[in-house]
Amino acid sequence: MTSEQIDLAPSRRKGAAGEVVLEVSNLDVTFPSGDGPVRAVRGVDYTLHRGEVLGIVGESGSGKSVTSMAVMRLLPTTAKVTGEVRFDGRNLLELSESEMTRVRGSKIAMIFQDPMTSLNPVYTVGAQIAEAVRAHHDVSKAAALDRAVQLLDKVRIPNARDRASSFPHELSGGMRQRVVIAIAMANDPDVIIADEPTTALDVTVQAQILDALKAAQQETGAAMVLITHDLGVIAGQADRVMVMYAGKPVEIGTAEDVFYTPRMPYSLGLLGSLPRMDRPSERLTPIPGSPPSVVNMPPGCPFGPRCPKHTEVCDETEPELRATTSATHLAACHHAEALVGAEAEDVFDTEVADHDALAQLAEETP
């Protein structure tokens, strides 16, 4: 072993499992816009424990991606971020830019949605992985490239040595996402944030990428935040699940809690719109309407207008997260108790088609 060899084994195991590694509290993100401030994230709290996978679910615009970009401090400077992101005893939001640079990639790594655009088209994939290694390790280019080849091998890219000298456009989407995963693994991080890692990929490739992610997480021993709009992706992967709606967490609990005893109509609705192999005869139950605009939000529960359980109290006060089935299963709904034993089809109408839209379409078509 030369002095330049990079320690590959996850030897410096990062404390005991169960220990809190990342703690987000009271996170608020506001963007200025022509129509007034956009409150993209409104008071997000979560803790991430060593070795666990936290799934964050929500529709587009629910603030789930903005939350993680805020944790990485990669939002444009126009964004106003308040709250606290505790990592390793420090509040990341208070670090200087150069201190934060040392955290990014080495302690917290990130995987983005679109592998087609995530890699720089003018550099080889090997160089782009090696660059991540050299950002945090003082090693020669050759040693970093060796490490890159090892990483490519770990994410199961065949002929890793040859592939390292390929340019991104020469690889398929799935292969590119593996490269991005390899970049995330490069410095043996404590936390990996995967933002919709499978959304842009073919269904057939999605499972492979999820496997690669799992392998990466086990290899590095990192905790993972898995962001997606697809409950199916979460199902086999996450230990705990956080459901977000209109910039706020509306339900948090173990995967079992959320999947089997949801206490928020929105979570129930999401589950209802997911096809299930174990009960093939069931009808899907779509959630009517669309998410609210986060500009000038009216008071009351943001899900109220779409909620079949909606009552007067929902228009007046926005429900806070509170304990339901257990102290660790929280939901933000005035009527959480009314959902005991309910199935999606009991609450949502199975045949809510958008009649207005269909009528308009029929009219416009010559």
């Binding site: 022509g34 993209a40 605009s293 500009v295 207008p305 909606h310 609450v347 109408d349 078509t365 010559p366």
Partner: protein
């Protein structure tokens, strides 16, 4: 259970829906430099066409005041023959605007037609037509324009014709690019799949979407044409007396820079104001039609 579903769309969407034209207009108003430029440009047009007519001196009129510096009587001074420079500049502005706007409209019409036909048909038609455009673009415009204008030019509309005969090639490239990219767009394919006719696709989908680029390009052409006309006049191949243009006024005044600087500065200033405001208006239009270009990713 659908009866219990309370629909209150006003609570769902607090941002009201706007039409494309309203959006474009609103975004244009947000571009302050463009709005100011538009006002200045309108004032300039009024000044040139109405002001010149109201002003006490005619452009060709010889007053008894020779070579006087700017004063209340002659805001831009007079030349050595006693002609009022303010009246001259207004007349030059009229001609320069006529030249550049004619060039912009002519070149846009020809170029858009040429480029869209090439882009729409594709294949060898496209190759042939674009090779011809490329050929025009390999020649320094001012050299060819000077050569043509020397023997055909002199009056403002001939100069406009000569310049337009070269600038259409630029427009054709832009128009072809727009048509090519629009042809690939999903909404055009969707309209086709729904059975919409070619006419409907062109009128409802292609034209409104290409309008932005065409308008922006039109403004760029106005600015380019006014500068090219100016350079041509300076080299002696542009508008010739008895016609006049801002370019001709400046080039006539270049030897007077030290003795009668007002003759040199005022027409030059007017050229800059026209080209500058037109460019800012174009910039505002671009932002208004294509907000994606300037939007910061969130």
């Amino acid at each position: 259970m659908p009866e219990t579903l309370v629909k209150s769309p006003d609570r769902e969407f607090t941002v009201e829906e706007r039409s494309q034209a309203q959006l474009v207009f609103r975004r244009f108003l947000q571009h302050r430099a463009a709005v100011v430029s538009l006002c200045v440009f309108v004032v300039l047009i009024l000044l040139a066409y109405v002001g010149g007519w109201l002003w006490k001196y005619d452009a060709g009129q010889y007053t008894p005041d020779n070579s006087v510096p700017p004063s209340w009587d002659h805001p831009f001074g007079t030349d050595s023959a006693g002609r009022d420079q303010f009246a001259q500049v207004l007349r030059g502005t009229r001609i320069s605007l006529q030249v550049s706007v004619s060039v912009a409209i002519l070149a846009t019409l020809v170029g858009t037609l040429w480029g869209s036909v090439a882009g729409y048909f594709g294949g060898w038609v496209d190759t042939l037509m674009m090779r011809i455009s490329d050929l025009v673009l390999t020649l320094p415009l001012i050299a060819v324009a000077a050569m043509l204008a020397h023997n055909f030019g002199g009056s403002w509309y001939l100069i406009a014709l000569v310049i337009a005969a070269l600038y259409w090639a630029y427009v054709s490239r832009v128009a072809r690019g727009v048509v090519l990219s629009l042809r690939e767009k999903e909404f055009v394919e969707a309209a086709k799949a729904l059975g919409a006719s070619d006419t409907r696709i062109i009128l409802r989908h292609l034209v409104p979407n290409a309008l932005g680029s065409i308008l922006v390009n039109l403004t760029i052409l106005v600015a380019l044409a006014i500068l090219l006309e100016t350079s041509l006049s300076y080299l002696g191949f542009g508008v010739t007396p008895p016609d006049t243009s801002l370019g001709l006024l400046v080039s006539e005044a270049q030897t007077a820079l030290t003795t009668r600087p007002w003759l040199f500065y005022f027409p030059g200033l007017f050229i800059i104001i026209i080209a500058l405001t037109i460019n800012f208006i174009g910039d505002g239009l671009r932002d208004a039609f294509d907000p994606q270009q300037t939007k910061v990713r969130q």
